[in-house]
Symmetry: C2
Subunit: 424 residues, 2 copies
């Protein structure tokens, strides 16, 4: 049973719950499930509870209402060790909070702990399990944040996305994931992998919850009306990777499209223009080129402590020329323009898979970013819409992608699709 | 007497000098002048010399030839305290090197110390003096890097620019300053003030020296031919702030234009289109809005340890709405497009003042960024060209601004103007 941030906030508003009481709900589930799931690197409920109790009045009146917010362990925090998923930083204590962490505190969030990240938010699976079936992967790299929200251990968590690190784990864990437009939320104090691609992401139970969290933390009005979101114009985009999507996922997307249409949305099939399709490959150039520089210290001084998957990526980055990188950046710029033109003409949002299918069995992979990386490169707002399941009871996520800078419209459309799915 | 990085590198190449010998030249001048100038926060010549001696062969063959590179104290370094010019971080020891610092080490640079920055690279003057007259300001915020190169204590130094923090101190200290196109050099591990504006900058004796340093550190071929740089098409842009420039500065710019024309350049007067002019004000919105978030931890937890100038800027940032910020970003985007169009049609580079005049007397100010902030906002490559003096023997810098991404052309044009000035 997930914790709806919006419902908890309403109860705190009407006085039927306190921030400390809301934290107790988290603590109960953490007590029941954390040992099995391994979503946290560290937590301190007693300290968080003391903070929540002492600040009850101010927190209750704050934008986040004193709700608990889990922080992926790539964000610097002064009061918890910050290890970036790497043995190089075992026990590391940053001197300051990341900007987004300070913004959570400003908004009245209570931080009970840090959530598991893969090594430097790259692809090597970490120890977290999927809350729907612990023999399955939670997805990465924001594994702990997605699993903690999916298990009902937290109402809100922060993650990041460079390829698909917010949308994919959100899909696998059956929660709402929101990667806003590039640069709306600062990545200052977040361990950098790629300065052109890294984006802060939000996790919560449903779309209205994640919109509530993003509104409170960013100070932008991103709230959606849970009762009657506006009917969007939706472009169903299968992308060239459609054949890689499982039959379940293909059926989920097409079912979501039918449900949205039945609920009043305009749904059309659309293909991406060549200038956008070409940009998918640019992600594979920009990411490793920048990572080889962003992680220069770790690569040069602690290579033996890097995982093989990451080391290979950084080796690749070392082999990419500045010309190839510049060319990839130009490709990305052209793609952003072509995407803006497409969206202005044809649709408010795109509907497309959040991942190739449900969470894979076993822990060899965090899943592939095939259905995510292009949208990250475009800087567009992306959401995982939860609510569908496969035959085994594992969540299947459908993705809404909006226009750059039109985050509110993307959230509204995602809320509409979420409702349409629920009412089928 | 400044140290030419290119000359030292040539001598190391031909075997007439070793990296340790080059460091001795720095050490001599540091011994003579540092006590008066206060350009360093800390240095350790003995350790740097040991490192240079042990690595003589490898360093001599490296891109930077083992030359000394000073690092502004907003870049994280593992082997020197990093204080960001703030008492909040007294004695702070980062866990990793900033990317640009690691790139300096990769390129074979030897780091003898950290150079003075103003508080978080903002406007409050620090203790550094101008090497041409210690009763005058060195400019900020990269005060120590500019003064150390200007005094001949270092052949190369790194700084940053958010408003005019590279070009202005370079102008005041009579050295070449190069702010590359936005995002060519990562700001990862540099204390953030504004994530949209902060840019890594380079200081060296002359344009060919700064081009050598930037080539070695970035791995891009930015070298200029000191003998025969190509004749550029130059647009002389007085900007709406021309009346704020001193008569000396106005004469310097017009003299530089005449000298360039006499040497074969095409020089035309040009005015900026309204879409570009309007963007100047956007800098004053984007900067404080982002700084209030980038420095959220410091503002919320250590406000009493912030200087009054900075606190006022952050208070201003707190008052700016997301709508105003988004509007300023759109203005900046439009200005970048208009600037690209202008440059494609009319000129390779712009010639304009680096600052309002020579270094001001006294230490009340680091100078104004009036002649710098627009170019930073446009993300364009900017150079201070040294070589001119006012009647009091203080340097007067002229600025070359290039097209975004055309850093090599900007360096070539700056080298051309530098020569034209020298040959008058």
């Amino acid at each position: 049973m997930m914790l709806s941030a919006l419902d908890l906030a309403r109860r705190i508003e009407d006085g039927s719950l306190t921030p400390a009481g809301a934290l107790d709900l988290c603590a109960q589930t953490i007590g029941l499930r954390e040992a099995d799931l391994g979503a946290f690197t560290i937590y301190d409920i007693a300290r968080a509870r003391m903070f929540a109790e002492r600040g009850t009045a101010a927190l209750s009146a704050s934008p986040l209402r004193g709700l608990a917010v889990g922080i992926k362990d790539v964000f610097d925090t002064v009061d918890f060790p910050t290890e970036y998923g790497s043995p190089i930083y075992r026990g590391h204590r940053p001197a300051s909070d990341a900007s987004a962490v300070a913004m959570v505190r400003r908004a009245g969030g209570v931080i009970p702990g840090k959530t598991v990240t893969t090594e430097f938010a790259f692809m090597q699976p970490a120890r977290t399990r999927n809350p729907h079936n612990r023999e399955h992967a939670p997805g990465g790299s924001s594994s702990g944040s997605a699993a903690a929200v999916g298990a009902g251990m937290l109402p809100i968590a922060l993650g990041t996305q460079t390829g698909g690190s917010t949308v994919r784990p959100a899909a696998f864990c059956g929660v709402a994931g929101f990667k806003p437009s590039y640069k709306i939320v600062p990545t200052v104090g977040v361990k950098c992998f790629s300065w052109s691609l890294d984006t802060v992401g939000f996790f919560a139970a449903g779309i209205a919850d994640v919109a509530f969290a993003a509104t409170a933390i960013t100070g932008r009005d991103l709230r959606v009306d849970r009762a009657t979101p506006a009917a969007p114009r939706i472009a169903l985009v299968r992308t060239s990777a459609w054949d890689e999507a499982s039959p379940d996922m293909q059926a989920a997307i097409e079912g979501a499209a039918r449900a949205a249409a039945a609920a009043g949305a305009t749904v059309v099939d659309a293909e991406l223009p060549p200038a956008v399709v070409e940009a998918d490959a640019a992600h594979g150039v920009i990411g490793p080129y920048e990572a080889y520089r962003a992680l220069a210290f770790e690569y040069d001084r602690h290579r033996d402590q890097l995982g093989a998957t990451l080391r290979e990526q950084l080796d690749l980055g070392a082999s990419i020329s500045a010309d190839a990188y510049d060319s990839a950046r130009r490709t990305a710029t052209r793609a952003r323009r072509a995407f803006a033109t497409l969206m202005a003409a044809d649709a408010d949002v795109i509907l497309t898979p959040s991942a190739a299918g449900a969470a894979p069995h076993g822990f060899k992979s965090t899943g592939t970013p095939t259905f995510n990386r292009l949208w990250t490169l475009l800087g567009a707002p992306c959401l995982n819409v939860p609510g569908l399941m496969d035959a085994n009871g594992l969540p299947l996520g459908v993705q809404i992608v909006g226009r750059f800078g039109r985050d509110h419209a993307a959230l509204e459309a995602a809320a509409f699709v979420e409702q349409a799915i629920a009412r089928r």
